[in-house]
Amino acid sequence: MKIVNTSVRKVDGVGVVTGNPAYTEDLILNNNVLTIKLLRSPHAFAKIKAIDTSIALKVPGVEAIFTHNDVPETRFTLAGQSFPEPSPYDRRILDEYVRYVGDPVAIIAAEDERAAEKAMKLIKVQYDILEPILDFEKSIDSHILIHPEEVHTNFEIGYERKRNIASKAYSEKPGVEEGFVKSDIILERTYYTQPQIHAMMETYRSYSYFDVNGRLTTVSSTQIPFHVRRHLARALELPTSKLRVIKPRVGGGFGGKQTAVCEIYSAFVTLKTGKPSKIIYNRKETHTCTTTRHEMRLDVKIGSDLEGNIKAIDINVLSNAGAYGEHAPTVTSLVSYKTFPLYDTVPMRFNANIVYSNTMNAGAFRGYGATQGTFAVESIINELAHKLNLDPTEIRMKNLVEPGEGKYITSGDIKKCIEIGKEKFNWIEKSQVREVAPNKVRAAGMAVTMQGSGIGGIDTAAATIKLGDRGDFSLMVGVTDMGQGCDTVLTQIAAEVLDVPMDKISIHSADTDLSPYDPGAYASSGTYVTGNAVIIAANKMREEILKGASKMFNTNINEIEYLGNNLKIGNNLISLEDFAQRSISFEGMNQITTTGTWGGETSPPPFIAGFAEVEVDTLTGEVEVIDYLSVVDCGTPINPNLVQVQVEGGAAQGIGLALLEDIKYDKKGKPISDSLMQYKIPSRLDCKNIRVEISNSYEKTGPFGAKSVGEVVINTPAPAIADAVYNATKVRVRKLPITSEKVLLGMFDL
C-alpha cells in the first residue's frame, strides 16, 4: 500500500484554511435573493386560533408571508434515514398547533433581513394557550395530548399517540432473571443524560432557486442530500424529478445536519414565489429551534459474583423525543445495540419508551444513543468495581468480548486497547487519589465503548468513477464531508486501487443530479460503506481500461498490464493519458465510467478505551481534565492523522458533554441557553491535554482493513470523568453534566 494508511493532507485543506469560498452562503451568487425569517411560537404548546398578516404584508420589501393555511396538508418526517423511514410522519411545514417554544408559526420572505424582521413584529397571532408537558418523565399517559392528529408510521414502531409515546424499543439476551438469582451482589442506579446541542460553527442554512429547466434546486449545508430531496418531494407534494439538492462544503454537522432542519422553508418560498430565497439560522435559532441529543433517564440494574463476573444487566430507558419524533425509534435502540455486544456473554435486557414532550425536538447526534448507553452501563460497572474493591480495568478484562469467527465481533480487540491505555496513561499511578496542592485532588477514571460502521443490512452507497479525456479520474460520491475528511479518505482509496497519485483524482460530492446514490454521512459510514463502493468502482475501472485497450490495440486482454500511469501492452508502454485521449476520440468511442455499489450485512464496530485524569478543587467543586487518553481501534486507519484529529475532537465534545453542556429552560419552557455565552462548549483551555493512541487491527470486510471512526470517539469521556470525580471526592454524579455545583453540593452531603 502506497497511499492508504498514510497521513496525506486533505484534498481541500489549504483552500478552507485560507478562506476560499466553499460553503452554502458563499455560493449564493444571486445578490437579489429573498431572505426568509420564521415567526416562532412564544408558547410551549398552543393552538393557533387566528393569524392576521395584512399589516405585516404592507411593510416595504416584504414579498410574501405564509401560515399554516397556505401549506400542504401532507405530514412527513425530516429524519435523515433510508426510505421507508422508521420515524413517525408527525409534522407539516406549518401546523395549527405549535408544540415547543420556537415552533414556526409563519414564514416571512422579504428583500432583506430588516424588512422581514419588521414584518415579523406586525403579524398578529391569537393563540389558544394549552398546558404543556415540559418534564418528559410526566409525559406517558398525561391528560395532555401532544399530537391530537392521526400520525402515519411506515411500520410498527410502538407508536402510541394517545399515550404520548413516539416509539418503543426492546431487546434481550436471555438469562437475565437467572443471572440476578445467581448474583452475590446487585446494584440498581438511575442515570440521566442531558440533551446536547451540536453547536457546529456553521449554523443551519439553505438556498433555493429554479434552474433554467424549471427544476427547484436547493443548496444546503446537509449531511443527507438524497434524503433531503425525498423529504422535499413529500412535503411540497412534488415529484422527485422536479427537485435537485446540492451540498457544498459543510461547516460541521455532528448529526445535526442529518435532520433537514431548514430546507423546507427555502424550497417552499421559492416554489411559491418563483424567486430565489435563502434561510440562515442565527445562533439563537440553532440553539433553541433545531434538534438535540435525546435526553434520557436510564434505570440500570447489574448483578455480579464477588469476583466481578457480571451475571446480568437490565436497562430501562425513558427517552425524550421532544415535540417531534425524528429519529425517535432508532436512537434509543443504540443504548442496547452498542452495549450488548461489548459484554457479549452477559445476559442483558433493554426496554425503552421514547416519549413526546413540549421541548425542542431530539434527533441524531454523534454517538446516536450509544453515548447515553455507554454513560449508564460503564458508570454502573465502575460503581460495581468500587463495591467489589476491584480495579475498573480488571472487572472489564473479566467481562469484555473476545473477538472470534462467527461472533458478532470478529476483529479488533477492546482488551488490547485497555492494556495499551493502562501503560500509556500510567493508570496504576494516576488512578491513585492524590492531593497535589491544598484543596486540589487528582484521580482518574476509565470507560470503554464501541460503535458501528454504517447500518448493516440497510444502508447502501454507490461511487462512480469517470476516466477523463487526459487520463485523470473523477470520483463522484453522494456521501458528505462535513469536516471528517471522507473526501480525502475516499480519494486515497481510489488512488490506491487505481495506482495513481492522488492529484490525478478529483472528487465531487454531492449533487443529487450527478452523484450516485448515498444515504449520506451518518452512522459512521463514510470510510466503511462508501469506501467499499469506491473499491468496487475502481476495480471495475481497471477492468474496463484493460478491455478498452484490448479492443483498441487488438491484443488479448491477458497481454495487457495495468500499471497506473501506463499500460504495458506486450513490450510497449502506452501512457494512460494517451490511452484515455484515444479512447474518448473517434478512434475508441469509449467513455469509460464505472460504478460500484456496496451495502454490508454487518456493521463492524470500532472500539475505544478512554482514560481521564481530573483535578477537583474541593473548595469550589470545579473539575478540570488534566489528561485524557483515547485508545482507539478502528481497524487499519486509511489516514492516521485524520483519525487522530477525529478522536481528539470527539473527546473534546465528550468532555463538553461530561462537564459543561446543558440546555436550560425557564418555567414556561423557553430555552435560555440560546447563545455560545449561555451554552458553554469546550474552549482551548478546557482541552489542554487530549491524547490518542491507535491500536491497529484488520477488519476483513472493511476497505483495506478499515472501520469507521466518526462517532465512537465521543462516548467514553462522560463515564470516565464521572468515575474520576468520584475517586477524587467520593461524590457520584449520575446526572450529566458534572457541574462544579453538583460536585460541591455532593461534598457537603457526604
Binding site: 456553521e202 460541521g252 469536516g483
Partner: protein, 154 residues
C-alpha cells in the same frame, strides 16, 4: 452613510446604513472568508484585523472602520498558505469553517508575541472556538509554524 476605508490595501467607498455591522458589509462586498458563527461576539470566527489588531467584525459597527485599514485573510496570502501547510500537515482543519478567523488571529499573534509559551498561545487564542478539532492539533500546527518563523528571522 458613505464609508471610506481601505480593505486589503484597496481604497473603498461603500454605502452603508448606520447600524450595519462590519461583518455583513464585508461579506456583501465579497470578502467571503469572513465567517459568522454566532451573534454575540463569542466564537471568533468573524475575526479581521483593524489597523493590524484582531477585532470581532460581528460586533463592530461598520462606521468604526471609517478611515482605517481592514485586513481579511485574503490580505496575507503568503502567511496564510504557510500556516495552512502546517495545519494540513497535522490534519488540524476539519470542517474549516473556523479556520480563516483563527488563522488571522494566529498571524496577528505571531506579530505581537515573541516566543510565547503554550499557555500564552492558548490564552491569546481562547476566544477562537472550534467545535471539530479538539484544539490540540491546532496547537501542534502553531508550534511548528512559529518554529519556521523563528528560523526565518535568525
Amino acid at each position: 452613510m458613505l464609508l471610506t476605508t481601505t480593505i486589503n490595501g484597496r481604497k473603498k467607498e461603500i454605502l452603508i446604513k448606520d447600524d450595519d455591522y462590519l461583518l455583513d458589509v464585508l461579506r456583501k462586498e465579497g470578502y467571503l472568508s469572513v465567517k459568522r458563527g454566532c451573534d454575540t461576539g463569542a466564537c471568533g470566527l468573524c475575526t479581521i484585523l483593524l489597523n493590524g489588531s484582531p477585532i470581532l467584525s460581528c460586533s463592530t459597527l461598520a462606521a468604526r472602520a471609517h478611515g482605517k485599514q481592514i485586513s481579511t485573510i485574503e490580505n496575507f496570502p503568503k502567511e496564510a498558505k504557510t500556516f495552512a501547510s502546517y495545519m494540513t500537515a497535522e490534519g488540524a482543519e476539519q470542517c474549516g469553517f473556523c479556520s480563516p478567523g483563527f488563522t488571522l488571529t494566529v498571524i496577528a499573534m505571531t506579530k505581537e508575541l515573541q516566543d510565547p509559551t503554550d499557555d500564552e498561545i492558548m490564552h491569546y487564542l481562547n476566544g477562537n472556538l472550534c467545535r471539530c478539532s479538539g484544539y490540540i492539533s491546532q496547537l501542534r500546527a502553531i508550534r511548528n509554524f512559529m518554529e519556521e518563523i523563528k528560523n526565518e528571522n535568525c
